[in-house]
Amino acid sequence: MYDFFFAPFIEHLFLKRAMVACMALALGAGPVGVFLVLRRMSLLGDALSHSILPGVAIGFFISGLSLTVMSLGGFIMGLVVALLAGVVSRVTQLREDASFAGFFLISLALGVTLVSMKGSNVDLLHILFGTILAVNVDALLLVAGVATLTLIVLATIYRPLILECVDPNYFKSVSGAGGYYHIIFLMLVVANLVAAFQTLGTLMALGLMMLPAIGAKFWAKRVWSMILVSFLFASSSGYLGLLISVHAGYPSGPSIILVAGVLYILSLLVGTQGSLRTLRAGKRPASPKIS
């Protein structure tokens, strides 16, 4: 029992670090994911996660495998795409999702080109899939820093952010600041994706943000409880994913996301709020027979 569940994390420093990184990611990305779901922006997170790639690649060109520079590059690029898309959708008649799609595709193609120009394929694989088992102290500090910042900022803008989601028109009629909260929130999304890309890779980063949050929708009726469930799902996905990865030898990033996926599907099936089970048990009237 102990040998199976706990020993690996106590005996191996790299697993201990990976575990701490997952917990910190869960603390930051879990709540951010909940707001993405509630704002109906689940797929915009996907767009943003791809758009940080060229920034990371440029950072890699400038200073090699320096986490700080690569993260900064990714953060700036993600922010540029988010702001450009936001401005275009506000100035022209293009909707936000469409203008996001436009910019993130350009950004992704640019990123892949940059990486393949100079780096070997191994580098590309590292950026796409992450290397959670090689998390160093710098990476831990980054992840923990982003998680701390995320929780503080979310607590600060909690009420306006919710009001801006529920009733944007009303918020606009009482306060002119709605757009700023939107931008602050997008910055948090980008920061969390950057924190997650090192450990989970740009392809998987979004998984730990969205899957727990979507799953939480089937258990919680309030925003705060959704955030709590989302964090629990994200952190247990991290733990179980690493455990599976250790014992079965699967890659760590995808293992973590697959566990999150299993938790989501379980929630979909047996959750207490609007899951398939409650719909079946509900008072859906028998369809009238036509004779």
């Binding site: 009420r159 919710i162 009303y170 918020f171 009482v174 306060s175 002119g176 009726k221």
Partner: protein, 255 residues
């Protein structure tokens, strides 16, 4: 509440429009609209589809900027009241996300935004005001219900409870009674009349001419331009009765 009435009579703004013009692309929505909503007046805006009723209300609530012309919202006492806190605006079909996981109480409490902003606590006093407002709109005890569990009429009552909390001197309602059951319309109309009695300036986009005739002292008949604006009895005379359907029809054909 005699003092309160007093206060609103002096605070309720008078709105003057001067040559307002709004167009969406090539489509002209409003053209040289000039006139005055007196302080403390209750005015119905009527007109055919696409006649610029909603646009005019959006101009007054600063959601749409006119291309030409200007308007002023002036209090009879010298207090400046262009501030957003003095204006309550209920859009035509509210874009409230009814699946969002918050309670009735939480939604209604956002009516206190001007006082609480982002951080201040909802005090026990405020909670009492929320409960009172829900009582007034006939939704007593529904504080902890979810938004998606409400019917259309109940939801409109909740939005009116929020208007009560906003406590604005200028209230703009865009077709508040469309698609709402009769009993709710009656209750909410009574509330509007109560606000009128308190001396607030109220502008309502309406479709139901019988209701306009019965309750609204002033009427603005709009068809991109001002067709007629004044006391309801004058605007909706027997003579014009024949005129209105014609003009409704005429503007409809442009849409």
């Amino acid at each position: 509440m005699p003092e309160k009435q007093e206060q609103y009579i002096s605070l309720a703004p008078q709105i003057s429009l001067k040559d307002i013009q709004v167009s969406y692309g090539a489509v002209v929505a409003l053209q040289s609209v000039t006139g005055t909503f007196p302080s403390g007046s209750l005015t119905a805006i009527i007109g055919p589809n696409g006649s610029g009723k909603s646009t005019l209300v959006k101009v007054l609530s600063s959601f749409v900027r006119p291309q030409k012309g200007s308007f002023s919202i002036k209090c009879t006492s010298e207090t400046p009241s262009r501030k957003k806190s003095h204006i309550a605006y209920l859009p035509q079909s509210s874009q409230v996300d009814r699946t969002f996981p918050i309670t009735v109480e939480e939604l209604v409490s956002t009516g206190l935004w001007v006082q609480t902003k982002g951080f201040d606590a909802i005090t026990p006093g405020s909670r009492q005001r929320i409960a009172d407002a829900l009582h007034t709109v006939g939704m007593k005890g529904s504080e902890n219900r979810s938004l998606d569990a409400l019917s259309g009429g109940q939801f409109q009552r909740i939005l009116f409870a929020r208007l009560i909390l906003q406590d604005a001197a200028l209230i703009l309602l865009d077709e508040p009674f469309t698609g709402i059951d009769e009993k709710t319309v009656k209750d909410l109309m009574a509330l509007v009349l109560e606000w009128h009695k308190q001396g607030r300036t109220i502008i309502v986009v309406m479709h139901d001419l019988a209701m306009v005739r019965k309750h609204f002292p002033y009427t603005l008949l709009l068809s991109r331009k001002v067709v007629s604006w004044g006391e309801t009895d004058t605007v909706l005379t027997e003579k014009d009765k024949a005129h209105i359907p014609v003009c409704f029809h005429e503007a409809d054909s442009y849409v």
